[in-house]
Symmetry: C2
């Protein structure tokens, strides 16, 4: 059976609007006879008369009207999908950016996602990244970008945006002696067993997560690795371990058997900072657009002064 040509559909839909072969031909940029032929071909193909036409009057048949009602949305969906893809191709953009995240997704970020979709036609496929493997998915090309804790000094990676630094808190079990205090001093970490992320993260990154020593030089124990935040909190609640978390995470993952305390006495700069990271060799325009949007959304908020787009300097690691 002859395939139905898009042209025939387009012609029928236009004719349904105009109810006039001449004007239809004009709108379609072809001759009137072509319109006649296209409609006739479609009718032959469908085996029904779709348009009742005399030299004085053009009207859809009952069947033709229902056919138009059905086909028009389907046809428009198809053409708009193609047009959208074409537009994206023209801009070198992608349908969906695959973005991974650590911890929590700030509201400013979801807003940036919304605007990215609205203003650039690029959607987001969001996925959580295992705690201890911040870079591997991006490096492997499975993700286009990741919002992960800095530092990120991999040579292949670019830090496109730096989120405002956040205080780091210490999560301890509610019944733990430390939990009674308002805050805890860094040096107290020396006596504790701090949880560290388990994964294939580089060494300098692990060290920045859980310092090897306190500022005074006392070694910090870390005998247990975790893969997810929930895992960590459960272990903290059990009481044998403590965990360093950033403030948004502490707010979100609140549970009764865990308390989060400010940590005093870090040297300066010992805050937790997330960054939007991507592979330098795969920087698509949409990524830069996302970084720009994040920049706008976080404007005014306290934020690292490092300009976006340059590789991050490795954080001092102990």
């Amino acid at each position: 059976m002859n395939p139905v040509h898009v042209q025939q559909i387009e012609c029928l839909l236009t004719l349904a609007d105009e109810l006039h072969f001449g004007r239809t031909a004009e709108r379609l940029g072809c001759s009137q006879s072509r319109v006649s032929q296209l409609v006739a071909a479609l009718e032959r193909r469908m085996g029904v008369r779709l348009v009742d036409r005399t030299s004085r009057r053009v009207a859809l048949t009952r069947f033709g009207g229902q056919f138009v009602d059905e086909v028009r949305p389907a046809y428009e969906t198809l053409t708009s999908v193609i047009a959208g893809a074409h537009e994206r191709a023209r801009r070198g953009a992608l349908r969906r950016l695959r973005v991974g995240f650590h911890g929590s997704v700030y509201e400013e970020v979801t807003e940036a996602f919304r605007r990215l979709r609205a203003e650039h036609g690029v959607g987001i496929a969001l996925s959580e990244i295992p705690l201890g493997s911040p870079f591997s998915a991006v490096l492997a090309g499975e993700l286009d970008a990741a919002m992960v804790e800095l530092p990120a000094s991999e040579p292949e990676l670019t830090v496109g945006f730096r989120f405002p630094p956040q205080d780091r808190l210490l999560a301890v079990a509610s019944w733990h002696p430390l939990a009674r205090a308002e805050a805890v001093h860094v040096e107290a970490l020396a006596g504790l067993d701090v949880l560290h992320p388990r994964g294939d993260a580089p060494d300098y990154w692990r060290a920045a997560r859980v310092p090897r020593t306190t500022p005074a030089g006392a070694p910090i124990r870390s005998t247990m690795g975790i893969s997810t935040v929930q895992e960590g909190l459960a272990l903290v609640a059990a009481g044998e371990h403590v965990q360093l978390v950033c403030r948004p995470l502490a707010d979100r993952a609140a549970r009764g058997d865990v308390r989060c305390l400010p940590v005093e006495g870090w040297g300066e700069g010992h805050s937790s900072q997330l960054g939007l990271v991507w592979r330098a060799d795969r920087a698509v325009p949409a990524l830069r657009a996302l970084a720009a949007l994040l920049d706008e959304e976080f404007a005014g908020a306290p934020r690292s002064p490092a300009p976006p787009g340059v590789p991050a300097a490795p954080r001092a690691s102990g």
Copy 2:
């Protein structure tokens, strides 16, 4: 800009399945070189590489994969719409049957509608018909069929199916003296003012709805016409009028200020019966299918023995 051809889309989708130009060509019934050309043309049209291909490996590009993901459902929608319409055209059926109804729609009827859609691919556009104009919408061609009260002895109309006869009840205001009784005798109608449907129904039909006289010959008053059931019930509740209704309607439209009583003493055959009515000159197969389905759904229920498909004999009218 060149239009995108369905063929190109179809080719890409097939290629996305097969990941092999030769097999794709085979499935499409064309040469391998054609597949190569079609894909190349689509890529030229879209301005992006959609398929990564060496002589040993065929894979969709990132963009190509997303494009396929988007286009495939849109394309399949369009083709299935066309195929469905074609199938319907082949059977001479229509997308939706426009059916009107009076009173209420029995569950068996909705079941028949469901099956009509499932088994014959024909949907239903349902609309309520003004109480007193059972035939005009069908006669005017605005509806394909109507489920209305019989008799229907218009020469242009066919009664395709007769619903089981239903008792007729008398609706009276709850505080009306008659409401205290368990039932009311026909002859009592002589003293009441019975509501009649207002519309362009033929005379024999109006007479069948509200008899002019009781069996004994006493004239029945009917000074007020109504257009909808709600209108009628409101007037009944007000107390000046009473209304004859069929049982399903009485059950459904129950309200506290109206009571429905059985009426005793009709001659036989004085029940209310609905019929599926259509214009004899516009009997489409789907209508006969619907009648057959109704026949099945009501099988076993008490029902008029008149075979479907023959014009209804006019009911004796007083």
